[in-house]
């Protein structure tokens, strides 16, 4: 499976570079997908995982890295959409901060008033809500992107034959998603999740 995809993708890469390009745009979508998975985890982890501080901290640190990377990454060559990430008014750090504050009040000594841990509900200042603009923009930017739709239609999995997987090319950026690499397959998987939701 991997071999077939690799061949097809490298063909696609030349064709699609203007429309999609697995350069900065691909990396950006990968990062944003990771961001979404991470935020999902944070939102859902006020249940059975509520007491796992280590997990919270690790996810939080990953979110920070993603945010930093998305700020640094060049703007993709796509129709201009509001850059919801990295903008000052999108309070990702505030969201993360409020998550940890929520944890502190729920776990720490009772110097704070009791603050019951409940699943995400309405308008509680202590409960983190990712910016709705962010989530909507994430889905609208990529679900509506015709380049992306065409890309998936073009993958011909029937022509796949088994091939030994070649080592991925040395990335210029350590997080670059090279065609045929494991990240490629992971990105594929992530895009399926996003499209499926």
């Amino acid at each position: 499976m991997v071999g077939g995809l690799k061949r097809k993708h490298s063909d696609l890469e030349e064709e699609e570079e203007e429309k999609w390009g697995w350069g900065p745009a691909g990396l950006r979508s990968y990062q944003q997908a990771l961001l979404r998975i991470s935020l999902d985890k944070v939102q859902h982890s006020l249940g059975p995982h509520a007491h796992c501080l280590r997990r919270h901290v690790l996810i939080h640190n990953t979110l920070q890295q993603l945010q930093a990377a998305l700020r640094l990454a060049p703007a993709p060559a796509l129709p201009p959409e509001p850059l919801f990430l990295g903008e000052e008014d999108f309070s990702l750090s505030a969201t993360i901060g409020s998550i940890l504050r929520e944890l502190e009040t729920s776990m720490d000594e009772a110097e704070h008033p009791p603050n019951p841990v409940t699943p995400p509900g309405p308008q509680d200042e202590a409960l983190p809500q990712p910016d709705p603009v962010f989530l909507e923009s994430l889905s609208s930017q990529y679900l509506g992107d015709s380049g992306l739709d065409d890309f998936f239609l073009d993958i011909d999995t029937s022509a796949i034959e088994k091939e030994p997987v070649l080592a991925p090319p040395e990335p210029s950026h350590s997080l670059f998603c090279a065609p045929g690499s494991w990240e490629w397959n992971e990105l594929d998987h992530i895009m399926e999740i996003i499209l499926g939701s």
């Binding site: 991997v2 990062q31 990771l34 998975i37 985890k41 509520a50 007491h51 796992c52 501080l53 280590r54 997990r55 901290v57 690790l58 939080h60 640190n61 990953t62 890295q65 993603l66 990377a69 993360i96 901060g97 940890l100 504050r101 944890l103 502190e104 729920s106 776990m107 720490d108 000594e109 009772a110 009791p114 603050n115 019951p116 841990v117 088994k162 030994p164 997987v165 350590s174 997080l175 494991w182 990240e183 992971e186 998987h189 992530i190």
Partner: protein, 453 residues
């Protein structure tokens, strides 16, 4: 004493031939949550093997005394005592349930006929005394055998009560309860070599206790920041040095280990040594930090080395060298390309433990698909074995397993995509003196021994 037999054709196995010995636990695939094994520990002689589970129970197995004449195998382990160590609690102030799951068990060295162990859940540590009763007094003057008191006026002669044998009864009783000292969740307990004190570690703090004193403990490490929003690192494991009663280590979620000397100051916030390996830039990814998080740290029996387990590897550190480990063993490097999926399904947060054999020559740790791995430090050979009921004929040598990372899968190999990530071996233990190992799958305990004769 054990037989060292060269295993022909193993191509990567070590010199010991491991055989299935026993399996404990329910057979059916439907696992009751309370039966999930959460800790496994041999006592100092290896005669007793304790397990803790998610339901707060402790089960202790005792090794049969070997029949010296026909030593086909070492004695079997049979249930010796079962008791409910911890119950679920509810913290009304914070509206949080406190799980009864036993996180760790540590045995005290035996001082008299009774055995003592410490067991802990997220919040409370308990000292349990396990004692045998195999005789009882009979022949009281003022009491009947059933316990009713006799009318003293009916007593015409006096006799001396005597002890008579009875069926062996093993009793477990809680002798100390060490509570209310941890705001966060306890991940480790470790008994000091002075056998009088022990430490307990949670995500942000480490406390020192005296075994006799329950109403107070000393805080010796505190990494909680003033502002919780600045929290980026937690304590993941801690252990006392086996010989130096003033020395302990603790590991962190950022892959560092700090060695502290309690003589330096009361609050050991400044480490004496910091062990950290610089990151390999070619392997850098968004998951680098998560996979560097140390899930277990164990000193060697000699006290000269310590071993750490992170998500993909086991590292051996010389206490005299802080800047890198002296040995690194890859447990399941083929998972490196799957980190995104493992992050999504939370497997990347699994905390695997590791252990040394009695002579510190071999180390062992668990993996997925009910596989576990052993690394021989001297021969540099490693082996992958599986804990499965399919191999359960006693004295049948276990067949080594191999995972095919990529390319054409050979016969008998398993491809990475076929691995069952729900079958994880997080807890393993090695008998302190012999080649007997205890390996816990989700709800079963497997005991393997090396082949004798």
């Amino acid at each position: 004493m054990f037989l060292c037999v060269f295993f022909p054709g193993a191509g990567g196995g070590n010199d010991i031939q491991w055989c299935f010995s026993q399996v404990k636990g329910a057979v059916d695939d439907d696992v009751a949550e309370a039966d999930i094994i959460s800790t496994v520990e041999f006592n100092h002689s290896g005669e007793l093997l304790a397990t803790g589970d998610k339901g707060g129970r402790v089960v202790i197995f005792q090794q049969e005394q070997e029949n010296k004449i026909q030593s086909h195998s070492r004695g079997e382990y049979n249930v010796y005592s079962t008791f409910q160590s911890h119950e679920p609690e509810f913290d009304y102030l914070k509206s949080l349930e406190i799980e009864e799951k036993i996180n760790k068990i540590r045995w005290l060295p035996q001082k008299n006929a009774a055995q003592f162990l410490l067991s802990t859940n997220d919040k409370t540590i308990k000292l349990w005394k396990i004692s045998e009763r195999d005789k009882r007094p009979e022949g009281y003057n003022l009491k009947e055998e059933d316990g009713r008191y006799r009318d003293p006026t009916t007593v015409t002669t006096l006799r001396v009560p005597v002890f008579r044998p009875m069926d062996l009864m093993v009793e477990a009783s809680p002798r100390r309860i060490f509570a209310n000292a941890h705001t966060y969740h306890i991940n480790s307990i470790s008994i000091n070599s002075d056998y009088e004190t022990y430490l307990s570690a949670d995500d942000l703090r480490i406390n020192l206790w005296h075994l006799e004193i329950t109403d107070r403990s000393f805080n010796i490490v505190d990494i909680k920041p003033a502002n919780m929003e600045e929290l980026t690192e937690v304590i993941t494991a801690a252990e006392f040095h086996p010989n130096s009663c003033n020395t302990f280590v603790y590991s962190s979620s950022k892959g560092t280990i700090r060695l502290c000397d309690m003589r330096a100051s009361a609050l050991c916030d400044r480490h004496s040594k910091l062990f950290e390996e610089p990151e390999d830039p070619s392997n850098r990814s968004f998951f680098s930090e998560i996979i560097s998080s140390i899930s277990d740290v164990k000193f060697s029996h000699s006290g000269r080395y310590m071993m750490t387990r992170d998500y993909l590897s086991v590292k051996i550190w010389d206490l005299n060298m802080e800047n890198r480990p002296v040995e690194t063993y890859q447990v399941h490097e083929y998972l490196r390309s799957k980190l995104c999926s493992l992050y999504e399904n939370d497997c990347i947060f699994d905390k695997f433990e590791c252990c040394w054999n009695g002579s510190d020559s071999v180390v062992m740790t668990g993996s997925y698909n009910n596989f576990f791995r052993m690394f021989d430090r001297n021969t540099k050979r490693d082996i992958t074995l599986e804990a499965s009921r399919e191999n359960n004929k006693p004295r049948t040598v276990l067949k080594p397993r191999k995972v095919c990372a990529s390319g054409k899968r050979k016969k008998d190999e398993i491809s990475v995509d076929s691995l069952d990530f729900n079958k994880k071996i997080l807890h393993t233990a090695w008998h302190p003196k012999e080649n007997i190992i205890a390996v816990a799958t989700t709800n079963n305990l497997y005991i393997f021994q090396d082949k004798v004769n």
